[in-house]
């Protein structure tokens, strides 16, 4: 089993900048394996996929499309064309909101999201609800930062058409019982959008087992370069959706006044794609699989336990995590009493410790902390 020391040595920036980097929830640092894969792509394979008839372009296409298959296997999608490349989770969520939400919501329908959602899984739904006359309802958390069964079942109703839920909260680290939420939502006839950005670096995802209709994540939170994300959607749903962005490579025939669109997945991938990002994402998956999720979870458990123990000793500090260990991932939120988070972050920064310092990361969630 690879040790945490060995893993640490894979990240050049930690040594180069002498960092204690505790902000992987914002973006992870990149291991040398990912950096090398990108360098190798540009040195030996760079071309525009799907475009040229020469071998270099064909090889670039193969690399690009093979990574799609790799991602499908990684999250256990049934079909490779259910994997759509995007810029990040935010773009994936906007694609769903605009292409699915706008076309399927009617006046008085309901969209249900949790109060833990990141702005990217909140603001697009505000817009779509305003435009369609639907209502946006929130599921609230209890004092242990968890969604109770009662709360879930009182908010998801027969009027609910879309439920959006984060797998792991970026603020409290709460792991939501997404599988049960999906099951209940399906019983009520709603489709479920899962934001997996904070879960994918920490736990094995099986979209078929979850029965998620949509599952989105950003590559950069799982060791890949910035600017590459994934949208998974069930094939029959994606097939019935209209394209989000129009342009090259997503078309079938273009006439003067009309266009027919390419089939999945190209229908949702207009224009030249971030192939470097895709290559890096492929290498990041190899890296995660090399370490293994079991090992990742074991190391995280040790680190979280140690951190919580030590932080609990500080009487000037308030911790915001669920007491139920099995429902808590590796985000640790805390407040130094009477000191603004920005000031804390500046002082830690002077010791080369990088932490996130925001109270407005999710405005709605902040309201809970404040009250």
């Amino acid at each position: 089993m690879i040790s945490s020391e060995e893993i640490k040595n894979d990240f050049p920036i930690l040594k180069n900048r002498n960092l204690t980097y505790l902000d992987s929830g914002a973006t992870t640092q990149k291991p040398i394996q990912v950096i090398n894969a990108i360098e190798n792509f540009y040195k030996n394979y760079n071309a525009n996929p799907h475009r040229g008839a020469y071998s270099l372009s064909i090889e670039a296409t193969e690399i690009y499309e093979n990574t799609r298959t790799k991602i499908a296997n990684f999250i256990n999608a049934k079909h490779r064309e259910e994997i759509i490349f995007s810029k990040n989770a935010t773009e994936s969520l906007n694609l769903i909101a605009y292409s699915y939400g706008l076309n399927n919501l009617k006046k008085d329908d309901e969209v249900v999201i949790s109060i833990m959602e990141h702005h990217s899984n909140l603001v697009p739904w505000q817009k779509v609800c305003k435009q369609t006359g639907s209502k946006l309802n929130y599921m609230y958390i209890n004092s242990e930062f968890e969604l109770t069964k009662e709360e879930i079942e009182s908010k998801i109703t027969d009027k609910t058409k879309i439920v959006c839920i984060t797998y792991v909260s970026n603020v409290t680290g709460t792991i939501n019982d997404v599988k049960s939420i999906i099951k209940y939502a399906h019983k009520k006839g709603a489709v479920v959008v899962v934001d997996g950005s904070q879960s994918i670096p920490h736990m094995k995802i099986d979209v078929q087992d979850l029965d998620a209709d949509f599952f989105v994540f950003s590559g950069h939170k799982m060791f890949s370069p910035l600017g590459i994300g994934v949208l998974y959607g069930k094939r029959e749903i994606l097939n019935n959706m209209t394209p989000f962005l129009m342009g090259g490579d997503m078309i079938e025939y273009v006439y003067k006044q009309d266009t027919t669109f390419a089939p999945l997945p190209n229908k949702f991938e207009a224009g030249t794609q971030n192939v470097e990002g895709v290559v890096g994402l492929g290498a990041a998956i190899d890296y995660i699989e090399k370490i293994g999720y079991d090992n990742i979870q074991k190391i995280e458990e040790e680190v979280v336990q140690y951190a919580v123990e030590e932080l609990s000793k500080l009487d000037y500090l308030t911790l915001y995590i669920s007491p139920n260990k099995e429902n808590h991932s590796s985000v640790i939120s805390f407040n130094v009493n009477g000191v603004h988070p920005h000031d804390v972050a500046s002082i830690l920064d002077s010791e080369n410790v990088c932490v996130r310092s925001r109270k407005s990361l999710c405005t709605a969630t902040y309201e809970i902390f404040r009250n």
């Binding site: 988070p341 920005h342 000031d343 500046s346 002082i347 920064d349 002077s350 310092s357 925001r358 109270k359």
Partner: protein, 146 residues
């Protein structure tokens, strides 16, 4: 990074923790809200004029030590000044934080606000120090229109 005590110095800590300028004016002529969407800091400045002179100022809201102290010290600095003088001081403060001026003579007019000069070494905190000053700048622009 520069020594932190250069930034979190006594004057700044004093103003951030318990500012006498954090209050409500009884009869404010103008008020303006400033907001930093990146960190959630939010202040409201209130202004009472006597002709062309800033007779009284106060603020409310919440934010980090740097933004709170910067607001309070700005109020001390601008009170009793004419609008034109205030605009000139604000311009100099912004230039100091952005390292566009280091002229000691020029910086003298900032009075206590010169305590923030080391914030220019902390790019992540520049917007905290500037929030109140930009808000005041906006308010004075509107004032001219009226």
């Amino acid at each position: 990074m520069e020594d932190l005590t250069d930034v979190y110095n006594e004057l700044i800590m004093e103003h951030s923790m318990n500012s006498y300028n954090k209050r409500k004016l009884e009869k404010a002529d103008f008020s303006e809200m400033g907001h930093n969407p990146n960190c959630g800091d939010e202040i409201t400045l209130e202004l009472k004029m006597n002709g062309n002179i800033i007779e009284d100022m106060a603020f409310s809201g919440h934010g980090c030590a740097i933004s709170q102290a910067s607001t309070s010290i700005m109020i001390d600095t601008l009170k009793g000044k004419t609008i034109e003088e205030a605009k000139d001081i604000i311009k100099t403060f912004i230039e100091m934080i952005k390292r566009e001026t280091t002229d000691e003579e020029e910086l003298k007019k900032l009075e206590d606000a010169i305590a923030f000069r080391n914030v220019s070494n902390m790019p992540a905190r520049v917007k905290c120090a500037l929030l109140a000053w930009h808000t005041m700048e906006d308010m004075l622009k509107n004032f001219n229109k009226n």
